[in-house]
Amino acid sequence: MKRCLPSARAALLSLTLAISGAVSLPTASAQTTDPDRDRATLVTIFEQLGSKTAPSADFVEIRTLGELDMPIESRGHLRFEPPATLIKQTIQPVEETLRLSGDSLSVTMGDTTRELPLDAVPAAAALATALRGLLAGRLTEVEEAFSVHFTGTRQDWQLQLEPRDAKVAASMKRLVVYGLAAQIVQIDLRQTNGDESMLRILNQP
């Protein structure tokens, strides 16, 4: 069946990701024992993230929803224009452009653009804070909204972000960010209802 192809590919991809995570995790945990050094590493990583020129990359996102029997995969481009504009352009399965700029979120599907104030959806606002904070290397901004738990080394690291705000925590359980040196390679979002989204960032300059 031709229709199953994207889903099959998604399953394959998630499998690869799981393996890569499993491979990197033991080494990471083995080296993190000193909280002071972890803190210093975290600060350095954010400095590196912030010093990068405007990043642009492709992405593959796999979303697993409780209601659906199979995960949904989507792919497209990501672009960050410091300090606060993030553009996520989805090409498959439906074309859609999400533009996060300042405090407004606009979603363009087909001919219609819908403008949403970020306040309307606290979880979306928190996600935006996390993404922009990471991409621009602003640690304090991220730490204001999330409790940040770092594991790993400067070369191979993992952040667990748990929302501080109760309203956000009602729908967002945690964000897990995987990175290699100054590159973010994957962002996992776990929601309280069991839904998961994995955003893999590819082809970074």
Binding site: R63, L65, L68, V94, L98, D103, D119, A120, A123, L127
Partner: protein, 784 residues
Amino acid sequence: MTRIDRRIAVCWLIVLALAALILTRANWLADMSVFLPTAPSPEQKLLITNLQQGQSARTLLASVGPLPESQLKPVSNALVAAWRELSGVRSVSNGNANDFAAEQAALFRHRYLLTGDGQHDPFTEAALQEPLKQARGMLASSAGLFNKELILSDPTGAGLQSLNLLSGSSGPRRHQGVWIDASGNKLLFMLSIAIDGVDLDGQEQLLTGLRAAYDRTVNDTEARLTLSGAPVFAVQSRDDIRGDVIRLSSLGMALIVALLLLMFRSLRVLLIALVPLLTAVAVGAAAVALGFGSIHALTLGFGVALIGECVDYALYHLVHNQSGAGGQPGFWAPVRLGLFTSLTGFAALLFSDFPGLAQLAVLAMAGLSAGFLTTRYVLPVLTTASAPVDRFYRLEAHARRCSASLAGWRPWALALVVICLIFGVLRRDALWSTDIAALNPVSAQARQMDALMRDALGGPDLSNVVLVRADKAGTDISAATAAVTDALREQVQAGRLRGVQSPTDLVPPVALQQARQQLLPERSALQTRITAIAGQTGLSARALAPFIDAVAKARDQAPISVADYAGTRLADRLESMLTTIDDRQVAIITLEQESSRPFDPAQWQAQLQTRLGASPAMQGATLTVLNMKDRTDALYAGYIRDALRLSLTGAAAIVLLLAVSLRSWRALGRVCLPIGGALAIIVAGFALAGTPMHLLHLVGLLLVAAIGSNYALVLAPARDGASADALTLTPLLLANLTTVAGFGVLAFSKVPLLAALGLTVGLGAPLVLMLAAIANARREENVA
């Protein structure tokens, strides 16, 4: 004191006590309602109800600033929280997306009865396939990340479609999710209040509460709170009217008292002079309170009109008590005739549809009669005091010499009057203002501010509307309203209108709702269909359970009614769109016109009637397209015409009365010409100044005629020959000065109504005196 004297004094005291009793219990008003006509046609009733109770009468706009950028959002949210606490506040919006949660929930809940044409089945397998595929795409999209429940319960988009009913306009610019103005440092808010425009006390209390809450919440010293909107204007103008009436009347009174003191140099005499005046005001006001159930501050403001005439009476009494002329029966005749002419003039106003004018007539008639009777019968009982007249005689002689020299002016005066008459006739179309805004006590600056804020916030705009009215009681007009709405939507599609808001959007006709329900499949049928196409759509019946539940619920639900929106702003909107006039249903559809196109109501009406004329839905209903501003102005122009007609009737009655009493064409001319001449000069003066006159100018002209008739009558040579020793000019001059003082101060009022009146009378009274003196100068010359 004789027994009769004692009886008179007792009667007078009883009358005063009764008047005082009535006044302490009277209901005092200061709003604009007395200048809105009563007993109008259904259409007019609607306009007036709209002015007083419509959505716009319950909408407040607020702006706060300037504030530093970091403070904008916290202050905005803090104020919303503080204001929402207040009783009387229905809702506060600051742009926050959750502001309309209740409204959105209501619309979303009823999505399957609010959308669809009732003919095409949107729930067949074929029809569902495409929307469901798209829904799955949405789930994958960024928008779907936090909208899963929404997408799965509304995969066909009916909910989004019904939510569109809410959005009138996109609203002002936002900063961090809160409304700000164009300058970027002021916050904007829109408040809906539960208190009608009729309850000004309640509105005032609420405004005070809002300001106090602001003071508690905002500590920024730079920032200011500006409130605007109909309730603010109504309360403000009431305060202005009240303040001006109290302040200016007191000032006028003080001036008059000072003037009298200067003349008489005796406190005792002054008190005597004030007795008829105070009696007149008390009795007049009490008569209004009795007749109307309430008394308006403005009416009392006009009470100063009584001052001039009543002080006249007292002066005649004092002066002639001294000269002994008071005892002559002929002496009071012209004064009494003056009273009768005034009464006749005011009597015409009794029939006015403006309660304000009718109140004024009652006040003047009762007050003048009381003042005259008090002077004639009570003053002689109270005192035998008289004015120190020696000085008056010197003054009189001087005045006569001056007036004698006026004889030469007669041709000039006549020429001036003729020129003014011609000028007035030439300008007759531009003499009267037909703009009801002329009566608006709100300053132009405040109105401009309001327009700016309203523009930014997209407040309710009721300028162009379509009325759908039932032809008789009991006829349901919802089908007709829906038909008109559909026809108007076609015009929106065609780009000839920007938008339409109709009550049937929120409460569709029951037949249409039922047709939509008929198309909703049973639970099991919908499940089967979804499962059958799940392979193509990727959404199983399990995933779409919220959708299936919602459809099943809508199938069995009772039709939506107004009650389903209770507690939301949509209920307010419906309330202002659905009303009954004379037991007949009326629906109001508001149109948002394309700003580039002029809106011609007549053309739209013809077009809609052609389009819908044959439609069975229009049975028993009539549609009217209105521009509210035009209609309000037309309504007002009609009332100006009525008031003019009444005034002219009054004037004619006065002339008739004078003609019968004077029995001489010559004498009649001597009395009427100065009055008519003065009126002509004033009217021409306003025309020359480019100030169109309104209702209160007309009242002023009437007062000039009433007051002036006294002057003219007294100055006109008495039939039995004027006694050379009588004091005539001095009391007139004094009376005239008091009138000018009383009204002159009103001309400085910031309430346009009072200023117009003050200016008209303040100029008119001395003009009449002048012209009367000129008209009668020759005879005086002979005497001198």
